[in-house]
């Protein structure tokens, strides 16, 4: 199969690896980003071990500015802001992973079906993609979340509905271009079964762009999830979720510290993810490296 000429897509992963080794300095932000993301993953998994206080209990006086006892102050209910922020990682990060993984999978399956089968399947899937992409993402997510009733799960469903069409469109065009390659034609004319052609001859050359886009989308998903919680359509109040905590801090501009830690947490995660995504794009898209 590889003897039939290696299409450019297959080289992407290899190109990525060799670049990561060679251009250490230009890749430095991406490495730092990787460390920051790793840090937050560890925090999400082990917050109970080293958060100074419980995230839900009143552990000090209300609305205390940062001090030696509470490095990021206390909120309106006397809860420790730092502890809540650390526990918050376990709310905000998994939802982003779920949305990206499910969104990319659903989009890739539908896009592959559309591109491979063509005809009516293609028309229906692609028109659905066009219509879904006609909405500004935030507004569509809000409308879906309101229709399904607020909550973290429905917020995730809403974001998946917003995100899958991007992957479907990508996968469909990818499958169509791979379908026209020589090795696929050779397989068809030697009588390989249709499903096997899709699985063994087309998909291995089609999924890399999906993976790359998913990496670059992570930051945006974290932002949208926090935004939905911020306006009250995501995590419900006692839950320590970053967007939700910022909305508690937005009540009063004088108690700035309530929103400081969760805001910095979101900023650091998204910036780190964007550093990584930026580097991935630089390496894989020669036009943007010029």
């Amino acid at each position: 199969m590889t003897a039939m000429g290696t299409p450019q897509n297959n080289n992407w992963a290899k190109a990525l690896m060799s670049h990561l080794r060679r251009d250490f300095w230009s890749a430095l932000p991406a490495y730092i980003g990787g460390l920051v993301v790793l840090f937050w993953i560890v925090v999400a998994l082990t917050a109970p071990l080293w958060a100074p206080y419980s995230p839900l209990d009143m552990v000090g006086a209300r609305l205390q500015p940062p001090s030696a006892d509470h490095y990021f102050g206390t909120d309106g209910l006397g809860r420790d802001v730092l502890s809540r922020t650390l526990y918050g990682a376990a709310q905000s990060l998994p939802i982003a992973v779920v949305v990206v993984v499910v969104g990319a999978t659903v989009g890739a399956v539908l896009g592959a079906a559309a591109g491979f089968l063509g005809g009516w399947t293609n028309t229906i899937v692609m028109r659905l993609v066009d219509v879904t992409l006609s909405f500004p993402p935030m507004l569509l997510a809000m409308a879906v979340a309101v229709a399904l009733g607020p909550g973290l799960k429905t917020a995730a469903v809403a974001m998946i509905i917003v995100w899958w069409p991007l992957y479907a469109r990508l996968m469909q065009s990818q499958v169509i271009s791979v379908k026209q390659m020589d090795h696929v034609e050779a397989a068809v004319s030697s009588g390989v079964r249709r499903f096997r052609i899709l699985w063994r001859y087309i998909l291995p050359l089609s999924w890399t762009p999906i993976l790359i886009n998913a990496t670059m989308d992570f930051g945006q998903v974290v932002l949208l999830a926090a935004a939905l919680s911020f306006i009250g359509l995501g995590a419900a109040p006692p839950t320590p979720e970053w967007g939700q905590m910022i909305s508690e801090g937005a009540v009063n501009f004088y108690t700035w510290w309530i929103a400081a830690a969760p805001g910095l947490a979101i900023l650091s995660v998204v910036l780190a993810l964007n550093f990584i995504g930026d580097r991935v794009r630089d390496v894989l898209d020669p036009r943007s490296t010029t």
């Binding site: 909405f135 500004p136 911020f230 306006i231 009250g232 501009f253 929103a259 943007s288 010029t290």
Partner: protein, 339 residues
């Protein structure tokens, strides 16, 4: 294919998409747990059988879902988006009343974002790989990574509360009453009326939210302008211009920039969608009485007709701006393949 046929074809493609947008809205309202009667009738009328029957007949609620769908399309086509159960007023009227505030904010943010984006993009390309280039890149990345609902909060507490340089949230001070609306945009209206104090007040309220919102799109614009400037600067006609003795600045601004700006049209047009998303959050933080804060207030109250109205308006606006962007691009760039 000539340009008129292209425009015609794009226009012809619009109605099916709009129909799709309405269909999604209808499907969502079918999924919704909320009883549609609550959204149509004021609370006290719900116990009045005659009113209930009349409303059911008018919206076709006593008929099959398919009939309901057509009734719904008909109502939307005549501008009837239902009644908000939070404000108890027609959604269409609420939206029209709040549209100018959002328009003013989004246009100001787009101005800020594109002027800064183009300027930094040009300088970053000219001094490629310099400290400035890297600084611009970092600044742009911060802009697209920072949650606007947090940066708005931080800016307000620094510039309004601590330093007192800018006024607090809102479109005007609490003691200022806006005159009768002409365009509804306070900055434009006050200029038309020659009311300078009012103009500066509206402008000073606009600055902070416009910066917060514009920063989020400045990055993509700056990035794109930098890339296309680098492309253009490496072309032969630029070397030619230099060889003929044109000065560095002249080459940069007169010869290179106009061509480099062509792809920027697209990204500036498309960034409208990001701005709408950002406006929802920026308006909430800045108590800006526009469509975005209306959407949030409606969502918090689970006010279904209102949130659907906003979504439909957003979808329609998004489709239209994309259309205008594509057509503008096709007119400016004769090389583009019109398909």
């Amino acid at each position: 294919m000539n340009i008129y046929r292209y425009i015609f074809r794009r226009l012809a493609g619009l109605p099916p998409l709009l129909l799709g947008v309405l269909t999604i809205a209808f499907l969502l309202s079918q999924v919704s747990q909320v009883d549609p009667l609550n959204s149509i009738l004021p609370e006290r009328m719900l116990s009045n059988p005659a009113a209930v029957a009349a409303a059911k007949a008018r919206w076709g609620l006593d008929k099959s879902p398919l009939t309901q769908y057509f009734v719904y399309l008909q109502n939307v086509a005549t501008g009837d988006l239902g009644v908000s159960f939070r404000t108890k007023r027609p959604v269409a009227r609420d939206l029209m009343q709040r549209l100018p505030a959002t328009l003013e904010l989004v246009v100001a943010a787009l101005l800020f974002g594109s002027v800064l984006g183009v300027a930094t993009g040009v300088v970053a390309a000219r001094f490629r790989d310099s400290v400035f280039d890297h600084a611009v890149r970092l600044f742009a990345l911060f802009g697209s990574s920072i949650p606007v609902f947090w940066s708005g909060l931080v800016f307000l507490s620094i510039f309004s509360v601590q330093l007192g340089w800018t006024p607090g949230p809102g479109r005007l001070g609490s003691r200022t009453a806006a005159g009768p609306p002409i365009t509804g945009l306070h900055t434009i209206d006050s200029l038309i009326q020659g009311n300078w104090p009012m103009f500066f007040e509206a402008l000073s309220h606009l600055i902070l939210p416009a910066i917060v919102l514009g920063w989020s799109v400045m990055g993509i614009i700056s990035r794109l302008v930098r890339g296309s400037m680098l492309d253009v600067l490496s072309q032969d006609y630029i070397a030619m211009a230099k060889a003929k003795g044109a000065g560095g600045l002249r080459v940069l601004l007169r010869h290179a920039l106009p061509n480099a700006l062509i792809p920027a049209i697209t990204v500036i047009g498309y960034s409208f969608a990001y701005l709408l998303t950002g406006a929802v959050l920026t308006e909430t933080i800045f108590s800006w009485p526009g469509i975005g804060s209306y959407a949030v207030e409606s969502a918090r109250a689970l006010d279904y007709p209102a949130i659907m109205g906003v979504t439909m308006l957003g979808g329609a606006a998004f489709l239209l701006t994309n259309l205008v962007t594509d057509i503008a691009y096709a007119i400016v760039d004769p090389k583009i393949k019109l398909q």
